[in-house]
Amino acid sequence: MKQQAAGLPAFSELDGWGLARRRVVRALALVPTAVGGSFALGACSADDAPGPDGRPLLALSAAQARTLEAVADAVVPTTGGFPSARAADVMRRFDEELSLVSPSIRDDLKAALGVLEYLPSLYGHFGRFSHLDRSAQQAVLQQMCGSRVELLRAIGSNVRILVQFFYFAHPKTWAATGYDGPFGRLPERMDDQRRWYAEHTGASA
């Protein structure tokens, strides 16, 4: 395995997993077929397919974007006036941020999504993460975060942390939280990088 997940050690660096380690490795053998081989080959470029929102992706593959959206839908609140993850641009922001970080971080997080998509079978679910119902997705995430396997804890926690960061930083969530916005409510001043991403993904800057 060439890639690692979310700033994580390679499997060979992890000791003492016993059965859990072997089950994870077996499950990962399934991953390449679903993410266009990128996980197994160590490549990091996105495929040409657009994201679930129909716009080009710069960092994620379409499959990884679907997994990320599934995580986001499982994690964010659905009551209390909170917007959906799609309305808060979570997947889109994830792709944007990932397109601007160091290759090692980008590769790790992309690989983490690949692991996450195919991990549910380890927890007794028949189906990929993005195909599970919401309660099953939440259960898988919770099990990962509490896992005795360091790698799985890290994947579950890091993907969730980033999803929640991008979601609650979005202005559309603020009314439901009671946050009164940045001091003075100034409009965002987009920098070169945000404009560059927008130009390359067909969005208006």
Binding site: L8, S104, A154, G156, T177, P182, F183, D191, D192
Partner: protein
């Protein structure tokens, strides 16, 4: 275009062709260490250039957007984690470095820490007497003063009240501020020029004395003969894509000072062919002040996101205490009020779905505390290189570190219940919720492990530690890299251990000392 006029800040748009840039001193990095070094040397009349990998974002580009400013100011957009994936690594990547998003806490190095460095690691010339003149001057330059009453938001008032009730020593935290408007956006960069970061102090002072600053320039390869560095090869970074371009710069200087910060200075030297074997301590003795935080729900509005972050600090537990048999008793951290905007707070909530919504719907009433762990000297970590040459942090979270983390979570719970918290949520994957003081015992069962607690590490140290010779360190007490005449390190990577308080004031004072040694080298 040639970009060599003194007293200017250049960016990628100005650096459109390969060229050779000459100066007396080349400083790599523009944070507290590099900017202070540049200011000292420029004011002494030397021809100085500063290279910064990140962008130049003056206050006119600030907007207080949590995500937008994170992208402008933070290295790898705060998405780099330790090798075990358990700790987010925070550092600056812009002209001014981490000081542009720091909390402005400005502690002088505790004397016990300076003594430890002298006694155990043979650091000389950096005792309190040697550093005092620097601190005295920086206190004026950066307007450092204890936070006054009006800058204590509700959470800081509660922290102070709790400390008083429990008999814990604490006091207002010295702050580098001038005319603060209490926006609460220290971590997004202060657009009011109130926080006295390097961007509004030492950088403009250096430029006013002729220094040239090159933003969007990535230092790559040192060229040396014998013990003398002759040049540095660098590349211009295409700022919009954040990727290095093929525009090469050659820097020729009489002296080079590495100040890329605690996460990046050691990796820079590791990438130089042959240096790791000559300097086996490169990357070693790495600390990072991991943080542990506890969220609290109160009956009153707390509004964590306004006013200054750390007006009051509990110093009672700064040093770990041990019994006569050497067993750990308590302490080993600074305890502060937390202050984070909603994105970061939401990200540190260990619940999901509608339970997450129930917590976040009460955002104004959420308070919290945070502790900076004083990494135990015998359980420090190591920096290595990832495949792309970026830093990879290995941090052991040893038994004493775990005990310290458990103790601070307990103390944070104790304090918050004492001042009226209705329920608490430990920021960690186990989502431990405490409903009263009777629940504090549950913390004894909490697994303390990598990826278990949600932690960030904003204060790296070590990796190029100071000491006697190449067997125990990377630099000597003149900040000079062992085996080199004109290569210096001037940032937190020379600290043999973490400082036990916010390191910025220590970094700046050490740079005063380093600048003096560079001046002597220049003759």
């Amino acid at each position: 275009m040639s970009a060599q006029k003194p007293g200017r800040i250049y960016q990628w748009k100005d650096l459109t062709q390969a060229q050779t840039i000459r100066a007396e001193v080349c400083v790599i990095g523009s944070g507290c260490g590099g900017a202070t070094m540049a200011r000292q040397l420029a004011m002494a009349g030397h021809d100085v250039i500063v290279l910064e990998r990140g962008g130049y974002y003056p206050e006119s580009t600030f907007d207080q957007s949590e995500l937008g400013m994170n992208g402008k100011l933070s290295a790898d957009r705060s998405m780099r984690a330790s090798a075990d994936g358990g700790t987010l690594l925070l550092s600056g990547n812009n002209v001014g470095g981490a000081s542009v998003h720091y909390w402005a806490d400005s502690y002088r190095t505790p004397e016990d820490r300076l003594q430890l460095w002298a006694d155990r690691y043979a650091v000389s010339g950096h005792d309190a007497a040697a550093l005092a003149p620097a601190w005295d001057e920086i206190t004026t330059t950066l307007n450092v003063h204890p936070a006054t009453e009006e800058y204590h938001n509700r959470m800081n008032q509660l922290l102070r009240s709790g400390a008083e009730q429990l008999g814990w020593e604490g006091k207002p935290v010295p702050q580098a501020r001038k005319g603060c408007v209490k926006s609460g956006h220290c971590m997004q960069g202060c657009m009011y020029r109130a926080k006295q970061s390097q961007l509004v102090t030492h950088i403009p002072q250096a430029v006013a004395h002729g220094a040239r600053v090159y933003a969007d320039v990535e230092a790559r390869e040192l060229v040396w003969e014998g013990g003398k560095v002759k040049a540095l090869q660098a590349r211009v970074v295409h700022r919009p894509s954040n990727r290095a371009s093929d525009i090469a710069l050659t820097i020729e200087a009489k002296a080079f000072a590495l100040a890329a910060g605690g996460y990046y200075s050691a990796p820079f030297l590791m990438r130089q062919e042959g240096l790791q074997s000559r300097l086996p301590m490169l990357g070693k003795q790495f600390g990072m002040n991991p943080t542990a935080m506890v969220h609290g729900l109160y009956d009153e509005d707390i509004v964590l996101w306004r006013n200054i972050p750390a007006a009051f600090g509990v110093e009672h537990f700064r040093l770990a205490k041990f019994d006569d048999a050497g067993a750990y008793v308590e302490g080993g951290y600074l305890l502060m009020a937390n202050q984070i905007q909603p994105g970061l707070l939401g990200s540190m909530m260990p619940v999901m779905g509608d339970e997450l919504g129930q917590w976040m719907a009460q955002l104004p009433r959420i308070g919290g505390t945070i502790a900076w762990i004083d990494d135990p000297a015998d359980e420090l970590g190591e920096l290595t290189l990832a495949k792309d040459g970026t830093p990879k942090v290995h941090y052991p979270y040893g038994p004493l570190t775990q005990a310290i983390l458990r103790d601070t979570i307990k103390k944070q719970a104790q304090l918050q219940f004492a001042v009226g918290a209705r329920k608490l949520l430990v920021a960690g994957a186990d989502a431990l919720q405490l409903n009263s003081t009777a629940d504090i015992g549950k913390i004894d069962q909490l697994p303390i492990r990598a990826g278990g607690l949600f932690m960030a590490a904003p204060h790296p140290s070590g990796g190029c530690v100071m000491g006697r010779d190449a067997r125990d360190s990377v630099t000597d007490s003149s900040h000079r890299v062992h085996g080199f005449d004109n290569l210096f390190v001037a940032d937190s990577s020379v600290f043999p251990t973490p400082v036990s308080v916010d390191p910025s004031f220590t970094i700046m004072a050490f740079s005063y000392v380093a600048a003096e040694h560079v001046r002597q080298q220049l003759g």
